[in-house]
């Protein structure tokens, strides 16, 4: 399996989409137009996109509180997402979910999740459906470094292994859980944690799209071929605070700047594909431009879109009651 030109363009477009989306949300949050708890994925783009490039609508992912990037990587509509984050009626979840609960099951996106460690058991379920109904699908749980200590995650490793489920656990280790360093909170190693359950596990540089893509290719193939679960430890960095409003005093002042300068995933991707002559800069520039426009448009529309009304308050609680 190889990345075609179309794949590369798609991957880049998705990564830029995430970056622009998050930058816009950052700006709008700072300006006071977005309420609630908002966690941005900027900086981690290559990880989510590198994984989701292998997935189709028949495959499921479960995300975390830091969900925008995974949604966009899984092809959720950016316009409906932006509306949702603004709490609008035409938002992807009717304004009822917001940033922490964006989902689109028709795209195989099972939801961001406000509960740390909430996703992995759900993904075992999606994988069980795939296995039982023989849909050919696989299921991926994204897990933060902080989340990797939650009991539900280990339970899911074990369950996925003993039921031989087509499940993949991607531990996106951005070095922090809120203000706590993973150097403090995580005993042992992510890879050994996987291996302790006899789950094949690898570590990758999550800022390198191609490294993630390759690791995910193996894991997805294994899952599709009945080989059971895999674990990928993807090292990344988040560019913004834990949530919007976080002063980030627990981080060295230059941490993000250095990373941006040396390892920014978009920059790395661009350098790699242009140096290898796979794509030329102008095609990428064109994506940059069009995505920027698109997101700007989404923001404008989100601002003026109608709010939900009292009639919406009590719908969607049950299917029948």
């Amino acid at each position: 399996m190889q990345l075609s030109r179309e794949d590369l363009l798609k991957a880049y477009r998705r990564m830029v989409m995430i970056r622009e989306f998050e930058e816009a949300v950052h700006e709008e949050f700072s300006a006071g137009s977005i309420p609630g708890f908002v966690h941005l994925y900027a900086g981690e783009e290559a990880s989510g996109v590198g994984v989701c490039m292998h997935l189709n609508d028949n495959d499921y992912i479960a995300s975390t509180h830091r969900g925008h990037g995974h949604c966009l990587a899984k092809d959720c509509d950016e316009h409906a997402m932006m509306l949702e984050i603004f709490g609008k009626k035409e938002g992807l979840c009717g304004g009822k979910g917001g940033s922490m609960h964006i989902a689109d099951l028709s795209k195989g996106m099972m939801g961001a999740n406000g509960i740390v460690g909430g996703g992995p058991p759900l993904i075992c379920g999606a994988a069980l459906t795939a296995k039982t109904l023989k849909t050919g699908g696989v299921a991926v749980a994204f897990v933060g470094d902080g989340a990797s200590n939650q009991g539900t995650v280990f339970e899911s490793y074990n369950l996925a292994k003993i039921l031989n489920l087509p499940a993949i656990f991607v531990v996106e280790d951005n070095g922090y859980a809120e203000a706590t360093s993973s150097r403090y909170s995580v005993a042992g190693s992510q890879v050994n944690r996987g291996k302790a359950f006899d789950i094949p596990a690898v570590e990758v540089d999550g800022s390198d799209f191609f490294a993630v893509w390759e690791a995910a290719r193996e894991a997805v193939e294994r899952a599709r071929n009945g080989g059971g679960p895999s674990l990928i430890h993807s090292r990344v960095l988040r560019y913004y605070g834990h949530f919007e409003g976080d002063a980030m005093t627990y981080r060295p002042a230059d941490e993000v700047a250095n990373y941006r300068a040396q390892k920014d995933p978009l920059m790395q991707f661009r350098r790699r594909v242009t140096e290898a002559g796979l794509l030329d800069g102008s095609a990428l520039d064109e994506i940059d431009r069009s995505v920027k426009d698109r997101i700007a448009q989404c923001v404008v529309q989100a601002k003026s879109a109608p709010e939900p009304t009292e009639a919406d308050l009590l719908t969607d609680v049950y299917i029948s009651y």
């Binding site: 499921y60 009717g94 759900l122 039982t132 109904l133 074990n158 369950l159 299917i319």
Partner: protein, 337 residues
């Protein structure tokens, strides 16, 4: 119609639904039993034998023994329900909710609302509740009030074998998440249960006795206690209406309010601890909506505000007894011995 036990009624419902719909699976700890071992494979069928016999019929793909990881497998059931299966997961004792409640109340219950109506999560969680087994504090609780509190969940409490079969079939066919409470002291209770499949709609109370002097609203196993008390008192000329709401969520408020209004004298019987329970829920409802019809204070008969004790002597004092129900009825009717 044949006499069947509560156990058999639930088992039959599961089997018939699994035959009808290949998406129905059952999973839980020792739901079959014997996995990985060298001897009998369908050794348990759950600790009470309810699911025994399903494995030979449907195989390990649809009758799944799980490790002891309630968050893991209940969460997996929820995730499977959201993606196309119709799982019936077994939370062996409701007392174990504390290790997996998140997947029930923050995930299954809220998907539909949080996701703007676009998710469907038809999961059933079977669970055992109630005192009387000398099983002590961590294996004897009721806790259905906690699930009833949570919007997005439905809660069924079958009071006899007939109800158990019909409510289980409805639970499996229902597109919302359902918590199905089986009382551990009732598995051997027998009653008439049709062989054919039937669903009892949720939110429609069953009036098991009709009377003029008082209305007893009771839940789960307590319905039987209430019936016995009503039968006893009727010999004295004190007649009671007995209401079995069948489900606490949805709750058939109409029947409750109507029957309460008819007699104006109400007793609510709930095996649970007294605070924020179904007895308070129903009392408050009536007091708000049918106050003018009340002729006497509403009496609540519940367990005390204490954990369930182990000792048989204490547990017998602990459980709301027929004597206490009878005393409450006499008190609201003003008719003492």
């Amino acid at each position: 119609m044949a006499k069947k036990s509560y156990r058999q009624a639930i088992s039959e419902a599961l089997r018939q639904e699994m035959e009808r719909d290949h998406r129905v699976i059952v999973l839980g700890e020792d739901i079959a039993g014997g996995a990985g071992g060298d001897a009998e494979q369908d050794a348990w069928g759950g600790p009470m034998g309810v699911t025994k016999g399903l494995l030979p019929l449907f195989g390990r793909e649809r009758v799944i023994d799980t490790p002891i990881t309630e968050s893991g497998f209940i969460g997996a059931a929820v995730g499977a329900a959201a993606t196309g299966l119709r799982p019936v997961a077994d939370l062996m004792f409701v007392d174990f909710m504390g290790v997996c409640f998140d997947q029930i109340f923050n995930q299954a219950a809220k998907f539909k609302y949080m996701f703007g109506g676009k998710a469907t999560t038809p999961v059933v969680i079977r669970t055992m509740y109630g005192a009387g087994f000398r099983a002590a504090s961590q294996h004897s609780q009721c806790l259905y009030n906690i699930f009833t509190h949570i919007p997005g969940l439905k809660v069924a409490l079958p009071s006899n074998p007939y109800e158990a079969k019909g409510l289980m079939i409805q639970a499996i066919r229902d597109d919302d998440p359902v918590i199905f409470f089986e009382h551990k002291a009732m598995y051997d209770m027998e009653g008439e249960v049709p062989d054919e499949s039937y669903a009892i709609p949720f939110g429609q109370a069953n009036v098991t006795r009709e009377g003029d002097d008082a209305t007893i609203i009771a839940f789960g196993r307590m319905v039987n206690f209430a019936n016995t008390v009503a039968d006893k008192l009727s010999k004295e000329g004190i007649t009671c209406t007995v209401v079995d709401p069948r489900t606490t969520s949805p709750l058939d408020t109409e029947t409750i309010l109507e029957t309460a209004a008819e007699t104006g004298r109400v007793v609510v019987v709930d095996e649970a601890h007294p605070r924020c329970n179904m007895a308070t829920d129903v009392s408050a409802l009536i007091c708000q909506e049918a106050f003018d019809k009340l002729k006497a204070p509403i009496k609540m008969v519940t367990a005390p505000h204490a954990p369930v004790p182990f000792s048989a002597a204490l547990e017998d004092l602990y459980i709301p007894s027929m004597d206490k129900i009878e005393a409450a009825v006499r008190s609201v009717t003003g008719k003492s011995h």
